[in-house]
Amino acid sequence: MAWFHFPTFILDELERLQREIDRAFGAWPLTIREAAGIPLFPAINVGRTKENVVIYVFIPGVDPNKLKLTLEQGVLTIAGERGTWEKQENETVHARERFAGAFKRTLSLPDDLDPDRVEARYRDGILTIVIGRKAHMLPRRITVQ
């Protein structure tokens, strides 16, 4: 189950370790939006099958109807706002780690997407977006004359 059980996981994990080491020593540049060192919200996993690109957005506690999704030239943008609570006078706040406020994330996706075949659903705090891939972009064998 879950992300760990991809067949490519082992290689992926080695790459991740290398990346973490690089990052620890400052060799791996953060993306421009990670510049502040604040963990990105929402976290995102993306995978691809022969037919689709599947995006899993880890975005708990939001109203899915208020999320704004756009797909333009292979760039997916997810924007919205997660409500928060106000500290009352009689309250003491011991931890406030959960993300609150407005967010916007932008992802560059593979360039073979079919913008007419997009589905999105929200369940258990995960927004799953499935985008079809254009058939003609699938690998073709080229015959050498």
């Binding site: 992300w3 995102i44 992802l107």
Partner: protein, 131 residues
């Protein structure tokens, strides 16, 4: 002065599953205290209700859950920011909290716990004597 009633510290971000150390995610929490008790909000996106475990063992409160995604077969990963399949976080409860009266709600990946204080702990104003 007032006792610290809050979960003082969380365990290291590693849990043991099947004898091997499997990486877990430390869920982010908000902890708010008022006169009657403590409210804990925790983010566990991807965990369905049946895969959430909220437990009290002794004075330890555990919030754990397995991420269950609909993964198509032959999914090739392109971007992987969430790397572990499980959330795990532990808190120590102080004695004035009532572990038997905890209420839990869970919706859209957010757990809300309400841990009331035991009755005699609620009103505990101490008169300061002046000499």
């Amino acid at each position: 002065m007032s006792e610290r009633t809050i979960p003082a510290r969380s365990e290291p971000n590693v849990s043991t599953v099947g004898g091997a150390e499997a990486p877990t995610i430390l869920p982010r929490v908000d902890v708010i205290e008022d006169e009657e008790g403590i409210t804990v909000l925790a983010d566990l996106p991807g965990v369905p209700k049946e895969a959430l475990e909220v437990r009290i063992e002794g004075e330890t409160l555990s919030i754990e859950g397995d991420i269950r995604l609909d993964l198509p077969s032959e999914l090739e990963p392109l971007i992987v920011e969430v790397r572990a399949p499980r959330y795990s976080r532990h808190f120590r409860l102080s004695r004035e909290l009532d572990p038997h009266a905890i209420e839990a709600k869970f919706s859209d990946g957010v757990v809300r716990l309400r841990i009331p204080k035991v009755k005699q702990a609620q009103a505990r104003r101490i008169e300061i004597q002046t000499s």
